[in-house]
């Protein structure tokens, strides 16, 4: 009897667990299956169906996105099951990869990291937007500004659809310029001028740094591709599928950076810059007067307004050396993508169509001074209507043939980490960048060639 009871108990427990597992998993799939099935059967009406959406936003931007989602549901009747996955919609932390391999993918992902998004496209992990472009109001991206075309297309298909973008600017402190005898209406245009100005603006007292005119790797200068782009490096040629990191333009970037490290002693410089607060804090070095010039995005204008309204500053286009991408800027875009295996790509398209309407994006433009991806939409932005001088420079940069998304390649993620590491290696160890760049190029080119 005892034997029978114990055997029965064990069997019941085991089958209970197995059944529990399978009914849990099956329940999920049946649920979504029914959902899709019933709406699929109900004809072309999308109302009542649910879009699963991963958003990269947090903080104020998350609130803004939540508002956008509510407005979308109100207008279309499509429900949105949203997950906020900072900082880039689950691309860098492996969430999206796990979701795609597990088959439980969201219908729509927005990311603030287009180069990682591009990597997903090259890995055949995304669905193309092409069947929906006409409906969204996009004619294969032909209206988009020139800087967006490389980003949107891979293998002649459109995988990434930009929502909005940002450009980089040189922010400089007017009072410090005057104090150093420089004309605030004549910001540096070339790297040589930038170096001269930086020297004049730097204050060192008894070997202790009081103020730095400029440090190439503070703020957006620390992004691996910023200076490579501005110095005119091709980085990667999609036509030949070759990395191009060893030309003089690329090598000079690191030599120039190292000149700052050697002039002020890398450890001292690092000590001075490492104490800096983040972009959105009153501790930012530009706000506290520890640094006189910095290269960062248009969003910084809003940060200055909030945290340091008394700082007297102006902005200019980023200085470049001869042969550099004059008047241009790396573009920092937020892009939409449909992961492979998404069940409701039509709903994703509906959401994007809604998100790209000027009235939805207008808040975004007004608050962060971000930019639209087509030139005509600039006219509708408040800053343009008010004749804002900073926004005028942003528009010129955005329109420039010299603006674009740097480093887009099948190895974008690894390349960007490797360049950051190389930058450190040169600065800390006073290394010659050329052989390091050659070794890096050889290693990653082999991976690209493998396909």
């Amino acid at each position: 009897m005892r034997k029978t009871v114990s055997v029965l108990t064990a069997v019941v427990l085991t089958t209970g667990l197995v059944a529990g597992c399978s009914s849990g998993g099956g329940g999920g799939s049946t649920g979504s299956g029914t959902d899709t099935g019933s709406t699929g059967g109900s004809g072309d009406s999308k109302a009542g169906r649910t879009l699963t959406y991963w958003s990269p936003f947090s903080g104020d931007s998350q609130k803004w996105d939540q508002g956008r989602i509510e407005a979308f549901t109100k207008k279309t009747g499509i429900k949105v099951d949203v997950q906020f996955i900072a900082p880039d919609g689950g691309l860098s932390n492996g969430k999206l990869l796990a979701a795609i391999s597990g088959g439980t993918v969201p219908d729509l992902v927005e990311t603030s990291s287009p180069s990682r998004g591009y990597n997903f496209a090259t890995e055949d992990s995304l669905m193309p937007w092409d069947p929906y472009l006409a409906d969204i109001g996009f004619d294969s991206g032909s209206q988009a500004l020139p800087g967006f075309k490389d980003l949107m297309k891979y293998d002649d298909k459109t995988y990434l659809l930009p929502q909005d973008s940002n450009v980089l600017l040189l922010y400089y402190n007017v009072d410090m310029f005057k104090e150093a005898g420089l004309d605030p209406d004549k910001p540096p245009k070339t790297i040589e001028e930038l170096d001269q100005y930086a020297e004049k603006l730097t204050k060192v007292d008894n070997g202790k740094i009081e103020r730095l005119g400029f440090v190439p790797w503070v703020d957006s200068g620390a992004d691996p591709f910023t200076w490579l782009w501005m110095f005119g490096s091709k980085i990667y040629d999609p036509a030949t599928k070759k990395l191009e990191l060893t030309d003089d333009k690329s090598v000079n970037v690191f030599k120039w950076m190292n000149s700052y490290a050697q002039k002020y002693d890398p450890a001292k410089l690092k000590s001075f810059t490492s104490g800096f607060g983040g972009m959105f804090s009153p501790d930012h070095p530009f706000m506290t007067g520890k640094i006189a010039m910095t290269v960062t995005g248009n969003w910084f204008t809003n940060a200055l307004k909030i945290y340091a309204p008394k700082v007297n500053y102006k902005v200019a286009k980023i200085p470049v050396p001869a042969g550099g991408r004059e008047g241009g800027s790396p573009l920092y875009s937020n892009v939409f993508m449909i992961p492979k295996g998404a069940k409701n790509p039509d709903l994703a398209a509906e959401f994007v169509k809604f998100a790209l309407t000027p009235e939805v994006n207008m808040d975004n433009f007004a608050q962060w001074r971000s930019i639209p991806i087509t030139d005509d939409k600039f006219d509708e932005v408040t800053w343009t209507k008010e004749g804002d001088p900073i926004y005028k420079i942003e528009r010129e940069e955005a329109k420039s043939e010299n603006s674009g998304h740097p480093g887009l390649s099948p190895v974008s993620s690894e390349l960007s980490d490797a360049i950051t590491q190389l930058m450190d290696n040169v600065i800390y160890n006073n290394k010659d960048p050329k052989p390091l760049l050659q070794a890096l190029q050889d290693k990653l080119q082999a991976e690209i060639d493998k396909g």
């Binding site: 427990l13 990869l97 795609i100 391999s101 990682r116 450890a267 000590s271 490492s274 690894e414 590491q421």
Partner: protein
């Protein structure tokens, strides 16, 4: 005899049935992933695309990858220096906390244990502030003694020692285990040593440490395994920098797997890690057998 055998067999079968849930769990969620990860380590696998068998290509590539050696040497640095420092500090603190003459002993024991209750992310952000070169409390304290503190996380030389400091700070669990071990040592041994004229240090080295050796072994083994898995802190605090000085093995593995789509390569790294960890732990057991105390 026969009946006894039957009872034993029946009990065994029943026991197996009762633990069958666990066995299913282990096979499905532990054994299968371990076995399949070895297979993937022999393939070129990006998760999304189909895997392609390449033999020992990943292992070969790893042995030619400077980053692999860099991350391995960083991890060994932490194992050698970090384990020694945190073990020495934890034993020293445990010995002090075992001294019944100290007032407020229970309170002090709580104080040393509290850091282990702080979630990793919060502790990491806290330590970024503590280690600030200009106004961080650690350099302020050093400055009070007339010393100029290093730039800690911003320096390739000092970033790892900064992590060791943090490791020592969070060794509360080890302290509690050492304390329990210390309380197992009979007072009579110390008393007879005192009668023979042994001083404090003589007692520590001739009684405390030998009798504590099984506990030390346990803590060192868990610490070594912990260092091989050391991930969240460097990811949050330095992201492997500066100059790769805090690119530890797990961080390097994570990047290959989830950021560079190189799951096969990462699987090979995981298997090498397993082998290295096993060798180190085997050496530790041997050392303990040779030098440690056993009843």
């Amino acid at each position: 005899m026969n009946k006894k055998m039957n009872i034993a067999r029946r009990d065994f079968r029943n026991a197996m049935l009762f633990i069958s849930l666990w066995i299913i769990g282990v096979i499905a969620f532990k054994l299968y992933p371990i076995v399949i990860s070895f297979y993937y380590s022999l393939t070129d696998y990006s998760v999304v695309k189909k895997s392609e068998f390449i033999g020992f290509g990943n292992y070969n590539a790893l042995f030619h990858d400077p980053l692999f050696y860099k991350s391995l040497s960083n991890t060994f640095y932490m194992i050698c220096l970090g384990t020694v420092c945190s073990t020495a500090a934890a034993i020293a603190i445990a010995v002090l906390l075992n001294n019944k003459g100290i007032k407020g002993l229970s309170f002090l024991r709580v104080v040393f244990f509290i850091p282990t209750l702080v979630p990793v992310v919060i502790a990491s952000i806290l330590w970024i502030w503590l280690l600030q070169p200009d106004n961080g409390i650690i350099n302020e304290v050093l400055g009070f003694f007339g010393l100029t503190g290093p730039v800690w996380l911003a320096s390739p030389l000092w970033a790892k020692p900064a992590f060791i400091l943090m490791m020592v700070w969070s060794s509360g669990t080890a302290i509690i285990i050492y304390l329990a071990g210390l309380q197992e040592i009979p007072d009579s041994l110390y008393e007879s040593a005192s009668i023979d004229g042994a001083g404090f240090f003589r007692k520590v080295f001739s009684i405390t440490l030998p009798l504590l050796s099984p506990v030390i072994l346990f803590n060192v083994v868990t610490s070594v395994i912990g260092i091989f898995q050391w991930f969240a802190e460097p990811l949050i605090m330095t992201n492997g920098g500066p100059d790769n000085s805090t690119l530890f093995y797990s961080l390097n593995l994570y990047r290959s797997a989830f950021q560079y789509f190189k799951m096969g390569y990462a699987s090979a790294m995981a298997w090498i890690l397993l082998v290295i960890a096993m060798i180190i732990i085997l050496i530790l057991f041997r050392l303990n057998k040779r030098f440690g105390y056993s009843e």
